[in-house]
Subunit: 195 residues, 2 copies
DNA sequence: ATAAAATGTTAGTTATCAATAACATACATT
DNA sequence: AATGTATGTTATTGATAACTAACATTTTAT
C-alpha cells in the first residue's frame, strides 16, 4: 500500500465519514461503506472490528488541535475590523475541517453526546479568546463599553450560523457568498461597536 | 375520547415527534413511540398504517402558516431598533413552534429533502420582508445605504444560529439568555446601520 | 344493557444488518 | 519456491424491528 492513491483503511474511513455526515451513523450500512470504498465488507471488519470502530477511527484521524492563541496572537493588530476579519476567516476554516465530525455530532447527539464537546470546545476556546480581546480593546478605548462575552457570543453565533446552514443545506438558507457574508457581518458588527 | 387529556392519536404523534426530533426518523422504533405514548404497537399501526405515516401525520398536524405580512405590517413603527426587536421575537417564536420539524428535517435531509423546504420557506419569506423593509428605511434616510438582502441575510442568520444551536445542544453553544441575545444583536446591528 | 368502536395481547412473518467463520486468491518479500 | 499478509467470497448466525393476523378485552355511544 501507499501508491499515490489512498491506502485501503484511509479509503474506508473517508467513505465512512462522507456517508455518515450525510445520513448519520446508524442509517449507514457496512455494505454501503464497503461499496463506496471499493472493498469487501470483511475488509472493513478486519480493519476496524466493529461499525462503531470505523467511526471512532475516522474521528481520531480527523481531529485537529486548533491552537488559536499561537496563530492569532501574532496576527492581531488591534484594529477591530481587521482583527475580526482575521478571526472570522480562521474560525470558518477550522470549522470547515471539522465539518464531517460536526455533522455526525449533530446526527448522533442523542447516542454519542460526547461528540459535541469535540466541536464546541473549539468555539468555546475561541469565544474566550475574543472576550479577552474585546476587554483589552475596551480598556484601550478602541471599542464601545459592552458585555464582551455576550458580544463574542453573538459574533461567533453569526459565523456559526453560516457554517452550519451551508453544511446542512448548501445555499438553501444562506445564499450570500462566504466572503460577502463575512465582510458585511464584520463591518456591521464593527460600526455597531465603535466607541 | 377527548377528556382534558390528549386523544390517542395526538398522544402518539406527540411522542413520535419528541423522539424523532431527538434521534431522527430511522433510529426511533415503533415500540419506543408506543411506550412513550402509553399505547400498544398495534394501535399505532391501526392509526397510521406505517412508521412513515406517523411522521407524515405529525408533520401535517404541526405545520403552521406564518403570514408575516399581516402580523408585521400593523406593528411596524419605522424605528429600526424597535422593528427589528419585534421581528426577531416573531421569528424565534415561529421557529420554536417549528423546532421538531426542523430538527427532523436536519436528521433526514438525505432521505426526505423536501422537508427542508417547509422550514426554509419561512425564513426565505421573512428575509424578503426584511429586505423590502430595509429598502424603505434606506429611501427614507433612516438607515445606512447597504445591500438590503445581504443585511437581511446576516440578521436572520444570527437569529437562526441562536435557534438551531439551542435546539440542537441546549446551552452548549450559546449560553447567553434569549432576551439578552436578541437585545444585544439587534442593538449592535442597529448602531452599525445608522445613517 | 348492549352493540360498536377502540385498544390490548400474542404469535408469527419477513427483511435487514452487524458480526463471525471458513476457505480461496492475489501479491509481495525473502 | 516458500511464506506471510491483505483482501475477496460465501454461508451462516443472531438480533432487531416493521408489519400482519387472529383473538381478547376495554371503552364509548346509544
Amino acid at each position: 500500500m501507499s501508491k499515490n492513491k489512498l491506502s485501503t483503511s484511509d479509503r474506508i474511513l473517508q467513505s465512512a465519514l462522507q456517508l455518515m455526515k450525510e445520513k448519520g451513523f446508524q442509517p449507514v450500512t457496512i455494505k454501503e461503506i464497503a461499496d463506496a470504498a471499493n472493498v469487501s465488507e470483511m475488509t472493513i471488519f478486519r480493519h476496524f472490528e466493529t461499525k462503531k470502530g470505523v467511526l471512532e477511527a475516522a474521528i481520531e484521524r480527523n481531529t485537529v488541535v486548533p491552537g488559536f492563541k499561537q496563530i492569532l496572537d501574532k496576527d492581531i493588530v488591534w484594529n477591530l475590523e481587521k482583527d475580526l476579519l482575521q478571526i472570522a476567516n480562521l474560525y470558518l476554516d477550522l470549522m470547515k475541517r471539522y465539518e464531517s465530525i460536526c455533522l455526525i455530532a449533530v446526527q448522533e447527539r442523542a447516542s454519542m453526546p460526547e461528540l459535541v464537546d469535540l466541536v464546541s470546545d473549539n468555539t468555546e476556546q475561541l469565544k474566550g479568546y475574543i472576550t479577552a480581546y474585546f476587554n483589552t480593546m475596551q480598556e484601550e478605548g478602541k471599542m464601545k463599553q459592552t458585555d464582551s462575552y455576550t458580544q463574542a457570543s453573538i459574533f461567533l453565533a453569526t459565523l456559526f450560523s453560516y457554517f452550519i446552514s451551508t453544511a446542512l443545506w448548501k445555499e438553501k438558507f444562506i445564499t450570500v457568498a462566504k466572503e460577502e457574508f463575512i465582510k458585511n457581518s464584520v463591518q456591521t458588527f464593527c460600526y455597531g461597536l465603535q466607541p
